[in-house]
């Protein structure tokens, strides 16, 4: 690898690092740029002040995570379960809300993955059928 290539690679890499470090929303927007990278304590505070929006925000993150892992989505997973599985917006999002309440030091991504783990096991919603 010649010196020019090394320099280009270093520059490109530093550019990626810079872009990742600068990832932020436009001023005035609500929410955070990367909810998965936030900790649960932050999520808990935001959830208290905007419960529906924060649940939607993290559920969307989970949808992306599941699609990246499986090429499928939550709807497709639910379709493989019995009809009375009890999963809906509230019961799905309760999984990571409860996780974050119990583990304020954890990352939101861990809480979100807890939902994926539960669904992958084919479990019905807690309190559901």
């Amino acid at each position: 690898m010649n010196r020019l290539t090394v320099m280009i690679l270093l520059l490109a890499f530093s550019g990626v690092v810079w872009a990742a470090g600068q990832l932020q929303l436009r001023p005035g927007m609500m929410g955070v740029a990367d909810i998965g990278a936030s900790d649960c304590a932050m999520f808990n505070e935001m959830h208290y002040n905007g419960p529906t929006g924060m649940r939607h925000h993290v559920l969307t993150w989970v949808q992306g995570y599941i699609y990246a892992k499986t090429g499928s989505n939550i709807d497709a997973m639910l379709a493989t379960m019995p009809e009375d599985n009890g999963w809906n917006f509230d019961s799905l999002t309760d999984v990571f809300v409860d996780y974050c309440r119990a583990n304020p030091d954890a990352q939101v991504s861990e809480a979100a993955i807890a939902l994926w783990t539960t669904l992958r096991a084919g479990n019905s919603a807690p309190g559901g059928a």
């Binding site: 436009r26 001023p27 005035g28 927007m29 609500m30 929410g31 955070v32 932050m42 505070e45 935001m46 002040n49 905007g50 419960p51 529906t52 929006g53 924060m54 649940r55 939607h56 925000h57």
Partner: protein, 311 residues
């Protein structure tokens, strides 16, 4: 007769109280109004914490309806004193319930909005993001008050004179005794609160002022305007002798000065204890007692006959 009611103040007598005169009427009124603003915040937070958000969204409907029933009594009353206080209290209750809690319901629950976050901390709740969006509605109402010939607010009258509207508008169609002070004070309380909230929220909006040190010029400018404008109003308030008029003038005076309280709190100079009623309940109970005593004293202070509906 109004004075036969123990709750009604005694009409002023010649050579009456030396306490209820300028500048004391203005000072007592300003302190009461400032306490009222802080305690209104505390009451809202206490309701949220005590019964939770979901129950609050329902209860606020009835609290607001109760305030309207109270306002109805105020509108019927011929006592300017009773009508003014009724308008003030019901205006605060309606703002807290039908305005703030409705925004809260739609923002936090129904629409699924998120709070605004800066530096890892929540800086604006969804209800205040919605409220910022009402600035246009606020402004068109400002146009109405500016061009309404029956507006008696000193600021609007000054604006009308400066805009050369006096001849075009003609004389007011209402005399002092034609005016209903309950609904006037009610609307004044709500509109002034709304205006000052919008002012504050725009100063805290990073879209326009940036973050951290970038926001400082806007914040310092607001504190300067708040103190000079509020100080000017206070200098006028200190000359008031009629307590009903002083209460109505004290509402904008206190709210304009409160802008500085909010901004200075944002700098971390002071703790807004009214936002944490469960933590600072002894302090807030003491302030509530002080407000209650002060409000009763002002309400029962010697009045001119015109203030108690006898002339």
């Amino acid at each position: 007769m109004a004075t036969s009611d123990p709750l009604q103040p005694a009409p002023a007598k010649p050579g009456g109280s030396k306490l209820w005169r300028a500048p004391f009427v203005g000072i007592f009124t300003l302190v009461a109004m400032l306490l009222g603003i802080g305690l209104a915040h505390a009451v809202m937070r206490a309701i949220e914490e005590a019964i939770g958000h979901d129950a609050t969204y329902v209860v606020q409907l009835f609290l607001g309806a109760g305030a309207i029933v109270w306002l109805w009594y105020g509108v019927k009353s011929r006592s300017e004193n009773f009508a003014t206080w009724t308008g003030f209290f019901t205006g605060i209750v309606i703002w807290m319930t039908w305005v703030e809690f409705f925004y809260m319901y739609y923002g936090r629950k129904n629409f699924g909005m998120m709070p605004r976050v800066d530096g890892g901390a929540v800086t604006s709740e969804p209800e205040y993001l919605i409220m910022t969006a009402t600035t246009g509605v606020l402004l068109f109402m400002l146009v109405f008050y500016t061009f309404d010939k029956d507006t008696r607010c000193n600021m609007f009258v000054w604006l009308q004179n400066k805009l050369g509207l006096r001849d075009g508008l003609g004389p007011s169609t209402k005399k002092a005794r034609d005016r209903n002070y309950a609904i006037i004070t009610f609307m004044e309380t709500i509109y002034v609160t709304w205006f000052c909230y919008a002012w504050n929220l725009l100063v805290f909006d990073p879209t326009f002022v940036g973050y951290g040190r970038d926001a400082l010029p806007a914040e310092l400018g607001s504190v300067f305007i708040s103190i000079t404008w509020g100080g000017y109003c206070l200098s006028r308030l200190l000359k008031y002798r009629r307590t009903s008029t002083a209460v109505r003038y004290g509402i904008p005076t206190a709210n304009i000065l409160w802008i500085s309280v909010e901004i200075v709190s944002g700098w971390g100079v002071m703790t807004e204890i009214w936002l944490y009623p469960s933590k600072y309940w002894p302090e807030l109970l003491a302030l509530t007692a002080a407000f209650t005593v002060l409000a009763v004293l002002i309400y029962k202070a010697p009045k001119k006959l015109s203030e108690v509906g006898e002339r």
